[in-house]
């Protein structure tokens, strides 16, 4: 009896707007920094072999998974994923979630086993779609196989804003006699979301697939 009552109260609080809006966490400046990439703790990236496994991958806060590294240009924060479970031909999908509380302006880099750069992607190569920015990178058989994926803030984009105008429809219902009259009105909202050094992201590695041609 207690459980359902508590759930009911939590739902009411959430609906009433008493839940704190999301605010992106930023990597801590106080963290001890690794002297080199080799010393940065690695995050094993699981390889999803089914759609269900891929759908089950959860978002993470960049600040929670990022490590500090001390380089020639000062401190930097990055997340270092190990790709030893990812078997080519594979596809790695990187997405960052849009929010008024902040969106992670990410850059991505693929490194070989000696931590040498193979391919680099800046944030302007991510595409804006619905409520996220995303990037797909491919690991093909017969090519130099990346051993690591590095995600870090794209300093050229941090501090900018994602601005979008989005349309919506509001329906007003008016009782008329024994029936109802529905009146649709359009509305538009221009939303500005800051691009930051932190925010929510998701990284999914799965087999390469090929979309079918339209069947409709």
């Amino acid at each position: 009896m207690r459980g359902p009552a508590l759930l009911c109260c939590a739902s009411v609080l959430a609906l009433a707007g008493c839940v704190t809006p999301y605010q992106a966490k930023l990597p801590s400046a106080d963290r001890d920094c690794a002297p080199s990439l080799e010393a940065v703790p690695q995050i094993p990236l699981p390889f999803s072999t089914t759609r269900e496994q891929a759908a089950a991958v959860r978002e993470a806060e960049f600040a929670d998974i990022a490590q500090c590294i001390a380089g020639a240009e000062g401190k930097a924060h990055l997340a270092l994923y190990a790709l030893d479970q990812v078997v080519p031909p594979a596809q790695i999908s990187i997405s960052v979630q849009l929010s008024p509380g902040g969106t992670f302006a990410a850059s991505a880099e693929l490194l070989d086993a000696q931590f040498q750069s193979l391919r680099r992607y800046t944030f302007d190569q991510f595409v804006r779609r619905s409520d996220e920015y995303s990037l797909h990178v491919f690991l093909n058989a017969g090519e130099p196989v990346p051993a690591f994926l590095v995600l870090s803030p794209d300093s050229s984009q941090v501090g900018k804003h994602d601005v979008t105008a989005s349309a919506s429809t509001h329906t007003t219902t008016v009782p008329v006699g024994t029936g109802m009259f529905y009146f649709n009105m359009g509305a538009e909202a221009v939303v500005s979301r800051p691009l930051l050094e932190g925010g929510r992201l998701k990284v999914v590695a799965r087999r390469q697939g090929s979309a079918a041609f339209s069947s409709d």
């Binding site: 779609r129 491919f138 919506s168 649709n184 538009e188 979309a211 079918a212 041609f213 339209s214």
Partner: protein
């Protein structure tokens, strides 16, 4: 006038499709390393005319008669905007060809265009204009199937708070020379007035935004410039994705 009226009715039905009642083509990201491409043949596209559309026209709430009033209103506005474009010597399809060719060449691709950009024979297409199947093409690395969904000005509603914005939606697919492999498929929306959830979104900013159609019409050639920028932005984004 009858042709414009019919187009307005079709446009209203199309807007229903655009606002999520029909499933979009399944997206396929481009694997550049696995399918290196230099020369691309562009397939014929459907005839495309600029439109002026209001997503929540007040007339649509008043049954069939209201719907016909809304369609007639839209047809009249389209006629005026097309006249403005004719005065500016602007044709959307031709301009898109010019800009896509330029942006693709900047990235090292060579486009081969058909003798007629508009299809001479109706192709078997899905609801977003992409072909359901493909033939083979010789001496090229890929075939590109492109189709405008909407090109023109669109507004979310009838108030000053829902202005007319230059709006372009487009479906793009890249297939293998034998027409059997789907190299790339995606959908683009410049100023997402139609709220397409899975499209690649491009924001047009606050320039070339008009509170009402009278303002749009009064802007004359400036309104055409807004559409130029929209088409160019979509062409540039397509080239960036390939």
């Amino acid at each position: 006038m009858n042709t414009n009226f019919a187009r307005a009715v079709v446009g209203a039905l199309f807007a229903l499709a655009l606002t999520g009642c029909v499933t979009m083509p399944e997206q396929q990201a481009y694997n550049r390393q696995a399918h290196p491409v230099k020369t691309v043949t562009v397939l014929e596209t459907r005839q495309t005319k600029a439109s002026v559309f209001m997503l929540n026209h007040p007339g649509m709430s008043f049954g069939l008669i209201g719907g016909l009033v809304a369609a007639a209103d839209q047809a009249g506005k389209e006629e005026k905007f097309n006249a403005t474009m004719a005065d500016a010597n602007f044709e959307p399809l031709a301009y898109f060809r010019e800009r896509l060719s330029l942006h693709m060449e900047e990235r090292g691709y060579s486009l081969v265009w058909p003798a007629s950009q508009v299809e001479q024979k109706k192709a078997n297409r899905g609801s977003f204009g992409l072909r359901k199947n493909y033939g083979s093409a010789a001496d090229v690395d890929a075939q590109m199937d492109i189709n405008f969904g909407f090109v023109g000005y669109a507004a979310a509603g009838a108030t000053n708070g829902t202005p007319y914005r230059p709006t372009v939606t487009m479906a793009v697919r890249l297939v293998s020379p034998d027409g059997k492999q789907n190299y790339y498929t995606d959908y683009f929306a410049y100023n997402n007035v139609f709220n397409l959830k899975q499209a690649i979104l491009l924001d047009g900013g606050s320039e070339h935004v008009y509170p009402g159609f009278d303002d749009l019409h009064a802007a004359g050639p400036q309104s055409v410039e807004g559409l130029r920028q929209a088409i160019d932005a979509v062409a540039a984004k397509i080239a960036q994705q390939i």
